[in-house]
């Protein structure tokens, strides 16, 4: 058992207490304003991107703590957290029924989950209802559902108990016997939830409350539940309530409704991509990364900044400075009349490249260290930021304890940073080489081999570029051009598996054609240290032909490399600002 507290715990958000969530969470205005609006929102992002944290932060349990600390209390917006990754969501008995009955039973499960969460949350609001409101609501709601609610407890408590009783009874009916059983007293969203909202809003406390239903891990819902949810989003106006739905990017549910219609981004909901591109330290993720780590350090009384707590190795720093000087001289020869900005841009582009190019092929892997590097390695995913910090702190603290158990950790030695980075990078390659079929369901051995080929060849290409490319040597993301439906069918399943394994992230960025946006792919930057590459990539994206991607994956053919091939132009840094 460890005797020290690691400030970089990266536990799932659901394991944190409301106080911890308040402590840890850094609000990002770019999407928090949507979470707090009456708009329906879909939050998409892979594991560790902060979706659950964002929902929980906006839930009543956390907001009530926040308002206690700021002495403001209002029920203008109430967040009701509804988790979907529960054994209840994984039940499959609906598959034994016909289509209509499946849809009814599926909706019933989801409605009960929402009903329980709603009642359980509202029950925690002190003096939410007057005694007479309590009694009236119990009578009316009991009448609507044709049930006698528990009389000895508060109205909301009795609803929660009703939901609990119903879910148990439903499961018992579905589990019983050998036949496919339907549950005849299934509830619908309109009968159970909307009617409850209507009743609640007649009370004094909740007369102008907007309820935000925070549906987490919606990708676990079955297809019929997803359609029901989409229908609720499509059909109702969202003045009384709205949905904030978090789901995984790759397994993003479709937007078809139960009636065969669809919901549209921009019209029915706003879509927020939680995976933020990290281009440079002043990008929004860069700022957020600093704030997250700073807050963690503050919590345990460490006053240093993240950059000072995770310092760059002195050796690396010296080498980089030497290279900057060499490159600056070269730039002055190329541009004797300046301007100064051009020379600065040149140094920015080529200084690190000079470092990597000038290293001996027999040298050890570089001294990966520094908070900037750690942030790049996270590839814009919060958990990927915290996890290596956790293990670095753990290692550094253990080493320190061996020497002097009472001392405080002043910083993480660069050697420890490097060790952990390389370990994690090697482990990620193990996933690529061996583990995909075991950890990603639906990934066959053949597909795993193709993905392995693809990543090996990407790594080779990026290495070649770093060593020899004339204009954009540090590019380490790519777009795919020349996609036909046939090529898509072959390539996209591999990319999806890689995304599910978090080896690859897809982002949206400005395309060559002004104003249009395109998808581009960013391999997990934690892959590159193991191959001696620079995780601090450039803004540029390499354009790969779909045919070449296919050949690389299927036939293990190298990507063609031209020393001076042009890229998606990105001379304006502003292009990629968030």
């Amino acid at each position: 058992m460890k005797s020290f507290q690691n400030p970089f715990e990266y536990d799932a958000a659901t394991s944190l207490s409301p106080d911890q969530i308040l402590d840890f969470y850094i609000e990002d205005y770019s999407f928090s304003r949507f979470l707090q609006s009456t708009r329906n929102v879909f939050l998409v992002g892979e594991r560790g991107s902060g979706k659950t944290m964002a929902l929980l932060y906006n839930s009543f349990a956390v907001q009530v703590k926040r308002s206690a600390s700021t002495a403001t209390q209002s029920h203008h917006r109430l967040g009701i957290y509804v988790p979907c990754n529960t054994p209840l969501t994984h039940r499959r008995e609906y598959e034994l029924l016909n289509e209509f009955q499946s849809a009814v039973v599926s909706e019933h499960f989801l409605v009960l989950a929402i009903l329980f969460s709603l009642a359980d949350t509202l029950d925690k609001i002190p003096d939410g209802l007057t005694a007479s409101e309590d009694k009236t609501l119990a009578e009316h709601y009991g009448y609507l559902l044709d049930t006698k609610l528990h009389a000895d407890v508060s109205f909301f408590k009795s609803i929660a108990m009703f939901a609990q009783r119903e879910i148990t009874h439903t499961q018992q009916v579905l589990n019983a016997g050998t036949a496919e059983h339907f549950y005849p007293k299934a509830l619908t969203f309109s009968s159970a939830i909307m009617s409850l909202f209507d009743l609640i809003r007649r009370t004094k406390t909740f007369s102008s409350t907007h309820f935000m239903l925070l549906i987490d891990d919606a990708h676990y819902l079955n297809p019929l539940q997803i359609r029901a949810l989409n229908s609720w989003i499509a059909y109702r106006d969202h003045s009384q309530f709205s949905f904030k739905v978090a789901c995984a990017k790759v397994e993003q549910p479709d937007f078809v409704t139960a009636t065969g219609g669809s919901i549209l981004e921009g019209h029915d909901f706003a879509l927020i991509d939680m995976e933020q591109p990290y281009q440079f330290e002043t990008s929004s993720f860069g700022r957020m990364a600093r704030q997250i780590v700073q807050r963690r350090l503050d919590r345990i009384g460490i006053t240093k900044s993240p950059d000072n707590f995770f310092p760059v190795s002195a050796e690396l720093q010296n080498d980089l400075e030497k290279c900057e000087r060499v490159v600056e001289e070269r730039a002055r020869l190329l541009y004797p009349n300046g301007p100064a900005k051009k020379i600065r841009d040149y140094v920015y582009k080529y200084a690190r490249v000079e470092y990597f190019r000038s290293r001996s092929s027999k040298a050890n892997r570089p001294q990966y260290s520094g908070f900037e590097t750690i942030t790049y390695l996270s590839t814009g995913i919060i958990r990927n930021l915290l996890e290596p910090c956790y293990w670095m702190y753990d290692k550094a603290k253990s080493l320190q304890n061996e020497a002097d158990s009472t001392g405080e950790l002043a910083f993480i030695p660069p050697t420890v940073q490097r060790e952990i980075i390389l370990q994690r990078s090697d482990r990620l390659w193990e996933t690529v080489q061996e583990k995909l079929p075991k950890i990603v369901s639906g990934c066959s051995q053949i597909e795993a081999r193709r993905i392995r080929n693809l990543f090996d060849n990407l790594s080779t290409l990026f290495r070649e570029r770093m060593l020899r490319h004339k204009s954009e040597p540090r590019a380490n993301s790519f777009t795919i051009s020349g996609l036909t439906p046939e090529l898509e069918k072959q390539i996209f399943p591999l990319l999806r598996i890689a995304m599910r394994a978090q080896l690859l992230y897809v982002r949206s960025g400005v395309a060559k054609d002004e104003g249009k946006r395109e998808n581009y792919y960013v391999p997990n930057r934690m892959l590159w240290p193991a191959r001696g590459l620079d995780p601090q990539g450039q803004h540029a994206r390499v354009s790969l032909k779909a045919r070449d991607v296919l050949s690389a994956a299927f036939q293990n053919k190298s990507f063609p490399f031209v020393e001076s091939a042009s890229l998606i132009p990105c001379s304006d840094l502003e292009l990629f600002q968030d």
């Binding site: 304003r33 009636t259 065969g260 219609g261 019209h267």
Partner: protein, 344 residues
């Protein structure tokens, strides 16, 4: 190959249905008539409309394709309710509905005949088809025979072609709504808008096209209008000099929303196939520079719903001739004939 010459699902469906209903040889021949009209119009007529009316939003090949796509989206799987000939007549009518713009915007819907003759080489075997197409295409805008805007009323659902029923009124209603939905960025040019290349009077139409996105959602019974207004900001605040343009565009949009909703109600009155569309759902997105902001203006839905007792229509306003005092006056003027049989 132009945009409408590239194969797309509606054409495939038409080809299949014609062969199904008429047999392979005859079906193929009728489909060939469609292809001939399509190719001739796209190479000789449609792309020259822009030259004739340079400030109009696009009425050329891309627009025609968009209208055809909207027909499919509007009907979805219920397209099977149209027989093969009806589908054929509908598609031909879409091809021809805006060709009159070649002679100028005014009354363009009435100038189809000459172009039709040119395309069909004045072949008399197409005379029945010509009548139907002109009737249907003419009804997509303009005035009816009685001088009102009720152009669909002039048509019937009892026409025929190749021995099969053709519900002209239904087809005209579908064309009309599909045309109304053909709005969006593709109808204009961002560059020309920026460079002030369009006439002053037509500028607002192009600005509107740039911000509008339309989508028929049959499954949910709605037409969806989404507006993405992009506003410039300086030092984090919206540029006040854009206020006038913003207000004008919003008011124009409101007018267009009401028009679309009216078209929805109007066309579905005549075409049961459009019955599912019970509401028009509108959403505005405001982008300050590149960042989306929600102004919480709530749900903007226009629907057919009428709640008994709330805002009932006023009969005497709707039918002034039924005003009781006027009726009494008319009754008072009646003079009965003297020979009246008195009942004992």
């Amino acid at each position: 190959m132009t945009a409408i010459q590239q194969e797309f699902p509606l054409e495939k469906k038409l080809d299949q249905n014609l062969r199904r209903d008429f047999g392979p040889a005859r079906g193929k021949s009728i489909f060939a008539n469609y292809v001939q009209a399509r190719d001739c119009l796209s190479t000789d007529i449609l792309r020259y409309i822009v030259g004739r009316e340079p400030s109009l939003t696009d009425h050329g090949v891309d627009h025609i394709r968009n209208v055809l796509e909207n027909v499919e989206l509007l009907l979805q799987s219920d397209i099977k309710e149209l027989n093969a000939v009806e589908l054929y007549v509908l598609v031909i009518s879409v091809l021809f509905h805006d060709v009159g713009n070649l002679f100028g915007r005014k009354n363009h819907h009435k100038k189809i005949g000459d172009i039709y003759e040119y395309v069909r080489h004045s072949d008399s075997q197409f005379s029945q088809e010509k009548c139907l197409v002109i009737k249907i295409a003419s009804a997509h805008t303009g005035e009816a025979l009685d001088g009102s805007n009720d152009t669909l009323n002039d048509l019937q659902d009892s026409d025929n072609l190749y021995g099969k029923q053709v519900r002209s009124r239904t087809l005209a209603a579908i064309l009309r709504l599909a045309d109304e939905l053909a709005e969006g960025e593709h109808r204009t040019s961002k560059y020309i808008v920026k460079a002030h290349g369009f006439s002053k009077e037509s500028r607002i139409f192009h600005d509107y096209a740039l911000v509008t996105s339309v989508h028929p959602d049959r499954g949910n019974g709605r037409l969806m209008l989404t507006y993405n207004l992009r506003l410039q900001a300086r030092k984090g605040k919206v540029l006040s000099s854009n206020r006038g343009k913003f207000v004008r565009l919003m008011n124009f949009a409101y007018g267009r929303i009401v028009k679309l909703d009216e078209e929805r109600k109007y066309t579905k009155h005549y075409a049961p196939l459009l019955e599912p569309y019970k509401r028009t759902s509108v959403h505005f997105n405001f982008h300050l520079d590149s960042s989306l902001h929600d102004l919480d203006i709530g749900d903007l839905t226009l629907s057919d719903k009428i709640i008994p007792g709330e805002n009932p229509p006023n009969m005497t306003k709707l039918f002034p001739q039924c005003e009781p005092s006027k009726l009494w006056q008319r009754l008072s003027q009646i003079k009965l004939n003297p020979a009246v049989v008195r009942l004992r």
